[in-house]
Amino acid sequence: MSGANRIKGKGRLTPARTVRFSFDNQVLTAVEGDTLASALLANGVHLTGRSFKYHRPRGMLSAGPEEPNALMDVGRDAVRRTPNIRATVQEVYDGMRARSQNRWPSLAFDVGGLNNLASPFFAAGFYYKTFMWPKAAWKKIYEPVIRAAAGLGVAPTEPDPDHYANHFAHCDVLVIGGGAAGLSAALAAAHAGAEVILCDEQAETGGAFHHETDAKVDGRPGWEWAQAVTAELRAMDNVRVLTRTTAFGYQAQNHVGLVERVTEHLANPDPSLPRERLWQVRAKRVVIATGAIERHMVFANNDRPGIMLASAARTYLNHFGVAVGAKVGVYTACDSAWNAAFDLKQAGVSVPAIVDVRPDPDPELVARAKELGIEVFAGQAVLDTSGKLRVKSMKVGKSSGGSTRDISIDALIMSAGWTPSVHMYSQSRGKVVWDEASQRFLPGRNVQDCVSVGACNGVDDLREAVADAAKAGHDAAIAAGISAGAAWTAPEAETGTSWAGSMMGSAAGAGTNTTVKAFVDFQNDVTAKDIRLAVREGMHSIEHVKRFTTNGMATDQGKTSNIHGLAIAAEMLDKPLPQVGLTTFRSPYTPVTFGAIVNHSRGDLFDPTRRTPMHGWEEAHGAVFEDVGQWKRAWYYPRAGEDMHEAVNRECRTVREVAGMFDASTLGKIEVVGPDAARFLNLMYTNGWDKLQPGRCKYGIMLREDGFIYDDGVVGRLAEDRFHVTTTTGGAPRVMHHMEDYLQTEFPDLKVWLTSTTEQWAVIAVQGPKAREIIAPLVEGIDLSNDAMPHMSVREGKICGVPTRLFRMSFTGEAGYEVNVPADYGEAVWKALWERAEPLGACAYGTETMHVLRAEKGYIIVGQDTDGTVTPDDAGLNWAVARKKSDFVGIRGMKRPDLVASGRKQLVGLTTKDPNIVLEEGAQIVADPNQTVPMKMIGHVTSAYWSENCGRSIAMGLVIDGRSINGKTLYVPMPDKTIEVEVTDTVFVDKEGVRLNG
């Protein structure tokens, strides 16, 4: 037997198909198709968790996604475990492990429950007011303690071993919700010939037919009809039915996010299946058929385990065959709870009383209750309940006073009416409208190409809902451009029960007494008095009330609580409810796992990794890599026993004494071609390009229009109409974007074509006194002599038999070459060069050595020595700004008053008094170290290294009027000491530059 509360002959599950699962280490039996909630109820378990703030015992409130209480940690093993799973949604599978949350040491005895006794201190706004001061205590004491005591589940610490899929889908009509309305709409759209996607969050379609057993469609019981229609839809080629699939986000232009739980209900899922699948649907039309959610009654101690929504009790009975209690009390303001009571009674459950706040409930219902032997308390209220871990009794009486009666119960079902689920409509940016007649918010004008049908649109009558929805589905197909379809008869429902009655806010008898806990929002422990307090404290907008009390801010987003909270606030403010307003519903409708959102974008697939053609060789030769944007760059090549420092020192020495080889392939490269190429570069760079002869190169500076340095690089002129432009590694895409922008929109008349060639060329820098000796025997067709090919020239020829663009240039201060070869030949040419280089005593060097060597020469790195607020003059690069040009990007910005005024930070060299101290990049510089804090900062360090070649540390920094205080002593205050530095020029090695021409 799968639980003592399973009623034979009731429900739609097959009793023989049992599965075993555990709850807090206790092994229990369920039936296939059970939710975790129905399985626990079948086994008599109502207590499922402790509340967020007061740690009050809580049980299932609902049988669906609106569940605020029954959140659990559910998984199949230690790694596959998810916290905060709603037990009312999660299906049970064999071997499932469920654990309650937010309790210590055990669910039945919880120390945090003391918060309940201390609750006068925990009123709304308590955290804001109490934990303000001292400020430092927040991070160290208050927040950690509050976070540990409050909060819900605990996130798993191990990486998720499962995978998740992403699917982009396009359709004519997306139907959200597979209840009577959604099925009718889908059927109509499908028969018209539209491509239809129907999604439903539950395991099976049918919506309200899960609990409502009185209704009939096309002459069949609603549930049977729903399953038959679903089978019909599944069989159609133009329809995709997705169950266990929640539409969670309605974005712009009918882009709707769905998450399908693919394996979370299976005991032994096929490992090739994704755990969840994210559907990104772009629909021409959307039909929203999301139904309605029942509200609870707000009264004193309405949160004890065993107290739940009437529709939930009816679902557990009619769908799962589970009685939620043996003696079930009913408290309602709506007819729907009466139907639930009748079903329970007829199934053999004792129903001692129906308490209805309405003085004159429908006489037919009253008669029916009498007939079944249920006592009716009309115009009365449940004033209080008792029972510690499960409701034991309810106190019934008139709210005005007088005698009361305690009625013994073990479950209490309630209904304050139904709230249309306008979440999707609201997410589509539609504005809900208050319907005075039915006292509820309904969808207003549609902002996107969508329509709401059925209960979410306020259509209560089933016959009307089915007819409306079928028409809406057909219209949606036509609107999506479907011209015709086969003749087809729309479904027709027999008028089901249309439930009258609803109430919002606190029920009479819940009292304004400050000690009464009448819960509005179960998950965030917000009571009616908290909302009243918020209004008294001056929160007059519902947005403020919400944030002050946290009403509706839990993971259930107030599906059951929002309207109650709003009504109480409105009553306190003495304003009509719509004037107080409704907060906007946001995505996601229900929580979505990080797995589904992150999807494939994790690990190696998180971001593309770019590797140069020589990467394999570098790896094989022990390179340590650093990330530069998406590139993996060889950082340094440690030999046995060397640390980074020693390796870099050796590499730096070797390059200056012998030679070194460096992989510069990541440099951005743009081919600028066309009759106006030079004119275009004149506009893009500060330099002049007209006089640059083919075969020569120039260092160029690119500014933004505001006059600040944007990028730099060497540009080689290959022909009158062809330039080979290089950019910084990180700057390549934005420089290309910048150039294209000007070419397309400001200078469209120029005949120039731009092509990114970054990945077409592998670049091998060979630098140092023996650079020429290394490359010479491998080069064909190029005269490498100093006279024929001086510093800053470029030639085309062959190396190792493959085409090359050979640059004579240097970022080290040594004579050197940058060998460009087609990327496919990069590794082969590198190896050939290495065979020459190694016996001569040269080394391979990485980016760290490159940085040190360039700093020794005072060559800047854009983005390190500049930060987007540095002008060419600030960086000491005025020589690269053409004086005679009438226009280039930045020409006007450079002349702005602030950019030409004195007192700007200028790039200088810095040498520490103690040559062994290496400054920290980013450290601040002051003139007087003895001033009081905060000191006047006059600059900062931009680059700092140990220079093995200088035998001391070197640095560059930006210092106010730095060039005018050459030789002056400044100070760099650090937490443990103050470092004395001298201002110098920026060139530390070979000030005359003779080595370049070696």
């Binding site: 974005q251 712009a252 232009q253 882009h255 990104q280 772009r282 940016r429 004008r445 902002v447 229009e705 505001d706 974007h737 294209e740 922008d741 397309q744 929109t745 400001e746 469209p748 009438s886 226009d887 020409i891 006007r892 910005g893 702005r896 008053p897």
Partner: protein
């Protein structure tokens, strides 16, 4: 994710293929070197940032790579129209339903 109609490709493509490129119809002065500080301020720094009708530039960076102009309602996040760079500003009006539409366009 928005769908954006590229006036060069003549197709609606997902937003992922595009990059916003700031306000449209701000022309770089032909004699930029000679303009006053105030004119430079107006050209380079001052942007309208409207609530409602925004004229902006987009680039179909992962498609045809062309820059083009767009009119977007910043309230509803809807594109009213897109047109090629260099074409004159398209005037729009707000219709009775609150949605923007191209002025003079057939209903």
């Amino acid at each position: 994710m928005l769908l954006i109609h590229c006036p060069y490709c003549q197709e609606e493509r997902p937003e992922l293929e595009f990059r916003n490129a700031g306000e449209a119809h701000i022309e770089r002065p032909k004699d930029i070197a000679a303009i006053s500080d105030e004119e430079f301020e107006k050209f380079f720094f001052i942007r309208s940032n409207p609530k409602g009708v925004a004229y902006e530039r987009w680039r179909h960076i992962h498609g045809c790579a062309r820059f083009f102009n767009a009119v977007r309602d910043t309230v509803s996040d809807r594109f009213v129209t897109t047109y090629k760079a260099g074409e004159p500003r398209v005037e729009v009006v707000r219709g009775e339903d609150g949605a923007l539409q191209v002025k003079g366009a057939a209903q």
